[in-house]
Amino acid sequence: MANIRELALTNERLAPGHRLCPGCGLSIIARAVMRGTKDPIVVATATGCLEVSTTIYPYTAWNVPWIHNAFENAAATISGAEAAYKVLKKKGKINKEIKFLAFGGDGGTYDIGLQSLSGALERGHNFVYVCLDNEGYMNTGIQRSSSTPYGAWTNTSQVGKIHKGKEQFKKDLTAVVAAHHIPYVAQASSHNYMDLVRKAEKAFAVKGPAFINVLSPCVPGWKYPMQLTQKLAKMAVDTCFWPLFEVENDKWILNYDPGDNKKPIIEWLKMQKRFRHLMKPENTHIVEQLQKNVDFRWENLKKLCGKG
């Protein structure tokens, strides 16, 4: 794999001038992922922050062929494009190697687009799906999604006398996708950009569907100072809230184990104002619940990776 300084000489596939918030994790991830292949790519993006902010009329930030579609069908759209490409190739009308990539947020992937993603994975199209998980519907004004963590404030999981933020745990989408037994599934984080580029390279290289779930810190949604995006992503990994792993042909591989340096989840929570209420003494039981859940999932993952 190329190092950063070699990558720096490759073409920029996402132009500046897009209107994502300052410090947004989405474009860091999108830029890194698109460096995972030298072949031409076709991109479809589900409705979400990345989609709307990069394509405010009459502008587009995409230097690659790009398809706009609805919230729920990025995977269906890209599988259609891939199927058309296959036919044209068979007829001899195209002979170059082209890669197909779909981006969706957690709203468009964990929730609304789950069935079209599942269908495309099951049909076995040759494409890469990248979920940019910012843990909520941030584009429409910060509503909860099935990816929002337990205890988090959002506009639809309010904090008051009775309710103390979201009352359900985060869906484990990466495992849901792994259950489709596709050739490549991975979980990555923006702070470990070389790991992300490596995973994107692998995903583009396999024949058949590949999926990467990337945690993407959101400045207004998580409520933290904008320069800390990479720190937030790193802490999520160090607390094992967001472990880095890959599933290659059903073999689970752990990429990073902080071991004795595993940090308590409160370290990550206290960096974000969406968890501010959890710092109050009367809410410690919520933090404990979340910690228990994180530990349970982490031990489970280690077992799957043969490390437990």
Partner: protein, 132 residues
């Protein structure tokens, strides 16, 4: 009309005038098509900025981490010749990108580059300190 000004500091460029004129209905292509890929470049997000990144060349090792993690693709890539080539820890391979200054037309001043530079070679300074 816009005019590019070169500044002494690390090759900064700055847009003198930020006026961005929208096309009128006669100029918009039929069907509302966008004819040029990546034309968001015409929209300068630099005026969102309240803090400006300042590069300190003496501390910089050209590791290009800032380039990799800038959400707005506004760390420029400089010439391929590495002035540090052969020094300890620096690869002598050809074809490596170098730090080539910030593109202040688009930099939103998030400060991620300053936060993540392992050598503290970027500092954020308040925009009002600059006259232009």
């Amino acid at each position: 009309m816009t005019e590019q000004l070169k500044e002494g500091n690390g090759g900064h460029t700055h847009q003198k005038e930020h006026k961005q004129k929208l096309k009128n209905w006669k100029e918009i292509p039929i069907g509302g098509k966008i004819l040029e890929a990546g034309n968001s470049k015409e929209y300068k997000t630099g005026d969102w900025r309240t803090f400006r990144p300042i590069h300190i060349p003496e501390k910089c090792t050209n590791c290009m981490i800032c380039w990799m993690i800038c959400p707005d693709s506004c760390v420029n890539v400089g010439g391929v010749d590495d002035p540090n080539k052969g020094k300890k820890g620096v690869s002598d391979k050809p074809n490596l990108g170098n730090f080539g200054g910030f593109d202040l037309d688009y930099c939103k001043g998030c400060g991620i580059c300053a936060e993540e530079c392992p050598f503290k070679a970027i500092e954020m300074k308040e925009e009002k300190e600059f006259k232009d």
